[in-house]
Amino acid sequence: MPNTTPESVVAARIRAAYRVRACAAAVCTGAAVFALGTGAGMAICLNAAWLAAAAALPACALLTLLAHRALTSSRPARLRNALLAALMLLLAVFALAALVSLAKQTMLPHATISYIARTSFLMAALCCAFGGAGVSRLMFALRFVLVLGLAALCALSLRGESASGLFPLLGPGAQQVALAALCMLAGAAPVLLLALPPAELAEIDEATRLGATPGPGFFLWRVLLGGAIGVLLLAALSLGGPYERIAQETSWGQRMLLARASGPRAGGTQTALLILQAAALLLCAAQTMLAGAQALSAALPRLQPFALPVALALCAGLLTALVYTGLETALRAAPLLSLPAAAAGALCLGRRKSP
């Protein structure tokens, strides 16, 4: 007979909220790995980007354990939260830059970059304004659609292609792959949003929340799955054509095209793929913006009522700067995100206070 005491109901609610949060982290990780892989990874090591991206998986695992440690600690950590805020906001801008590049090169080639940027930002900001619960719950609801949809559409569109696109396995060489792998470590950064408790649990007292928080394995397999999907998508990109084709694609958005449509009406498949990619990137941007606002209000409690507007304003400013300097600037800067991620992860270590 299931345990139906009020305490168990609250525990079930806490677990459900964490499940939703873990799913959100997984989607964000997959999106970040994919965006970094197509942006920086492919530019460095062409068709071996998927191999370099696999290096991000151990980093994801490590950061998950560190984030879980921070989650179950009730020690205030202003410095860590401040770093997290900066990291999450930069990730949000990176995801938006990837989204804008994708849209410009594929779905809205005649639109201006500034139009796409402001539209994407406004929709992401609206999602944030509706609250963190909404974004996480939507990611949870769409988890099968995003994963299975992308996988099914990839399989359909790649039907008949040989696996030769993966060869040579090391692409331009082991050195380039290693360099790309270093850059790809930043793809694990979204995992750190697990260090922040879900907003819908704010009403529950901390002791109860700490007592009902699931173990690290609960988050680990989900995050690794998200990262693995990002890696698989990069592999699918490599399968779509020879390495020379990837070398020819100079635009970030073009590199994100999963398999060129090869029939008069195969564009429907490609459009569906693009919409799923755009959805994942937008939700990643919204989730990380919200996490940044949450970390900001934890770091600066006086800023709490204005945390979200300040976070949105910072992202808007950064995105506008990117629009004028070129979206590729985000690509050059993105690998550096591994530094604040590593610092924030290191700050998650420390004495854990028992609930």
């Binding site: 779905m107 539209t119 609206l126 909404g134 609801a141 919409i275």
Partner: protein, 490 residues
Amino acid sequence: MRMGEDAITLTDDLEINLRCLRERLCMPDNQDVLLRRFRSGAFESALLAIDGMCDTREIDENILKPCMDLPRDAGADVPGGERVAYLMENAVSILPMQMKERFDDLIADALSGQCVLLCEGSAAACVMDTRGFDKRGVGRPEAERVVLGPHESFTESIRTNITLLRRIVQRETLITEFVSVGGAMKTRCALLYLRGTADEAMLARIRQRLCAIDYDFPLTTGEIGQFIEEHPGSLIPQTVHTERPDRAASFLAEGQVIVLTDGSPAALGAPSTIWHQLHTPDDTSMRWQYGTFLRLIRLLGIAVHVLLPGIYLALLRFHPELFSPMLLTSVYESGSRVPIPVYLEALLMTLAFDLIGEAGLRAPGSMGNALGIVSGLILGQSAVSADIVSPLLLIVVAASGLGGFCVPNYALSIGLRIVQLIVLTAGAAGGLYLIALVLLALLCSLCRMQSIGSPLTAPVTPPRRANPDILLRLPLRRQKARAFFAKHDS
């Protein structure tokens, strides 16, 4: 105690009480008020009622006549405070009765059709249910028709509605609480729930919200629903309205609370989820295969209603490569002849369709039937012949309109019509990309909404315990759990 308009409770003096009542009820100007003094045994009594609201024959036969037929010395030794009870025990033969002392309560009861019996020397009066106003009989539901299943619907009488529910839910734990809601003019509402099934915290929230309504005259269930919902700016309703007693009974069984309003032929179920608004009683009455099939058809219709015009516009303006060559040629040739931009064309057609729908609702009976034929044949055909609209767009808008009729919940259908216009505009402005972003934003908004503290999109997200009856209607044998918002150990 000073008598007058600010008197609060009855006194021992019948004359003073009657004078106070006359003043409060604006007699003799208010000629609907019946105030009758009579001798009942050894003491004087009086009856107060409102003409037309009460059943005068019942009053005559069961109150006046028996009281007036008492012997002249009957009740001579009864203390003043017990005289009303004496009459109730020895003369009056009406079953529902309550003793009250406050003028406000007595006047409110009299205005609702009940009869008030006062006695000399008694500071309490007896209120008896002698309602006898004319009311509509139990008919068929207008907006929630089904093929299988009952065909009764609620009426404007709260008592009849409660009776309809009690006939279905014959449980001792079915509790009816009456609440007066509103500011200057109170509306009588009834809160029905199953004790032990409905969650007490949720119940307390609903009670608190109902009592907090300070609107002067909340007349209908719809108005009350607007006061107790959490997101008044949202396009999606957060409570579910039904005019079917069987549906309301199913809500009770799931742990929801039903709010009935006197004068309104609908029940309000709260909390609810978005899935409640997409399901119909036919889904459950039929076998699971048919129920699932119909549900999927309905969802497809809703998707067509919301998305088709926007997607069509997006393809025309941004993604013509997705058209098949035959279709594109046809669209290209017809589009070349139409003088207005395609967005305006789509907007006009959609609004025209909505206008026709509204006109059909408001037009008197026989005209309403003819309206569809006139508008469809003459206006549509003429518009196409005059090259004002393209035939394909007309088909798209018509298909979308048909899909709109699949929405089972009327309030939700209006909300979805507005969403359709938003999606249409997004498609015209930014193609499939902007449609996708707008839909994501709308879905985020939907996911964060709550209904009396319960997430509107649960149990899908956030995950909660549920029967396999959300999108697909699986066999009833597999549906063993109560809804997630019921009491946890029910």
